[in-house]
Structures are given as C-alpha cells and as structure tokens.
Symmetry: C2
Subunit: 180 residues, 2 copies
Amino acid sequence: MNILEEKLIKKNLIHKGRAVDFYCDEVLLPNGHQSKREYLNHPGASSIIPFIDENKIILVKQYRYPVGKITLEIPAGKTDKGETPLECITRELKEETGYTSKRIEQIMAFYPSTAFSNELLHIFAAYELESGSNNPDEDEFVSNVIMDFDEAVKMVYSAEIKDSKTIIALLYFASIRKRS
Amino acid sequence: MNILEEKLIKKNLIHKGRAVDFYCDEVLLPNGHQSKREYLNHPGASSIIPFIDENKIILVKQYRYPVGKITLEIPAGKTDKGETPLECITRELKEETGYTSKRIEQIMAFYPSTAFSNELLHIFAAYELESGSNNPDEDEFVSNVIMDFDEAVKMVYSAEIKDSKTIIALLYFASIRKRS
C-alpha cells in the first residue's frame, strides 16, 4: 500500500438518488487510524464547446438549483447507462441546443471535485455545426446564447462565468491559441 | 419568477455529514411540475497556487478517496466557521506545505459542480514565500512537489493533472502570460 493511500473498511450507501448516490465510507488511513469519507457516486458526464466559427461559440443559460443562480455554461449532461462519453455528448448537444456536429474532438477529462465526488467530466469541442430544434429533458430548461469566444474568455476573467467545465474549456482554447 | 428559475417546495436533509451535508429537495419547475434536486451543502473552500519564483510552483500530492487516486493539486481546504477565504487559504497553505507568503492575491472563484454542489471555490496566488514546517489535519496526508510552471501546464494538456481548481489556476496564468 502506497504511503498516502487510504483503504476501504466498509462501504456505506446513505442515499440511492435519482441522479447520484451519496456514500459515507469507513476508511483506514495511512497512519492506521480510521476515518470517514463522504462523497457522491456519479455516473460521469460529458460537456462540449460548440464552435459556430473560429470566434463564435454556443453557451446555454439555465437555472442551477444548488447554487441558486442562472448560469452560463457549455452544454453538458450525465452519461446514460451503456453510453460512451462521445455518444453522451452527441445526444446532449442535440437535446440542449438543437445543433448537430460533423466533427467532435475530445480535449480533456477532469475531476470537478476530487474531495467529494468521483465524477469524471469529459470536455469535447464541436465544429461544422448544423442547427435544428432542441429537445431538453422534461425537468431541464435551457436556452442558447451565441457569443464571441473572446467575450466569453473575458467573462471568465471578470468572474461572470463561474462554472468549472466552462472555465476550463475557454481557458484551454485561450491558452493554446496564444501558443500557436 | 424568472422563466428558468426553480422554486423550493420542501428542503430535505438526508445526511448531516462531518464535512458536507447531503440534501434532496422538492422543487417547483418553471413548467409547474415538481421534481427533486440532490446536492451537497458545502461550506466553501479556498485554494492557492504558490509561486516560489516566476517559473516554480508548489503542488501537493495526496490520495483522494472518492476518485481512488493519488492526485497532484494546488494546496486547498474547506473554510472553517467564521473564516474569510483569505484567512482560510493562509492557514491551509501553512498547514499543507509549511510555506507562508508575504503577498497573496485572489485570482478567481468558481463552482466546481453547479449541478450537485453549492461549493464556491476561491483561487489565490501566493508570492514572496518563506518555507517552514507543515502541519496537516490528522486525517490528511500530503507531500510537497516543487515543479516548473510550464511543466505543470504540460501536465494539464497531457491529462496527467485532472483536478478542476489546479487546471483552472494553471490555465489562467498560461493564458494571461501569453496575452502580455
């Protein structure tokens, strides 16, 4: 066992949820003591930054209940059972924005919260878009916001955009564009 | 009520945890239907990218139980009761790395997971550091990794660094350094 590693003593499901489960496991620490780890069991998710052209992207506006705010985010959604991240995001892009894409590329996958969730969130970029009608989940209310890429990056610096995956997608392209 | 907004019908605490609480609230959707929202109630946290010099930073290596991996992250921790984000990160920097700083500047605050947590995570940068001995929490096992800033950014692009706050701090400086 690695010197930093913690070992499961007893898995403890507190709540089997509709979208996520909540656990409070007993663990053995590297120093031999016991502790508890509370976390969400999450199926994983995918998100996408859709480029209408090099300087225009699609964001979605939606109400996020946990933070009590309407946020501006890249389209995203949880992985359905049996779906690959690419299948998930192809479906979510169409459902949330109405757009389909002829070219989708993965740029990254990250952990939003290593301390309290096992969610792995994939980020893709979409090019060669075609518009159509959207079809969100019955408990989901989203609206498209088409905006300049540079303006969106400024909204990261000014803290108007505060969502992790959206910040990462925007700063990723801001940083590699400057490199090239 | 805004056309996207959801309204609380009944707050429902499922688990009062040691570090976070888990809720499953009943809400009223914009279309008049009811639904449930499952989320973590989190006290907020602060993180910091400590610059030893312009090109050298301190990361911490630790085991993250929810994702089952040893990760490389910027130092961070939950806000204690009554603490400001700056007080929190000054304490955490010393506890986790042993370093103190004569100049700490806030660069951002973001939501790691707008769908499942109300956590607001502040990011600071620390300059003019002085080393000392660390003093982590009794259930926390961390070790310092001093590395080149550019090397850490490469580890974001190669997906070796997967933690949201660490990616955001690194891409933030990568993108503004390229701008100037």
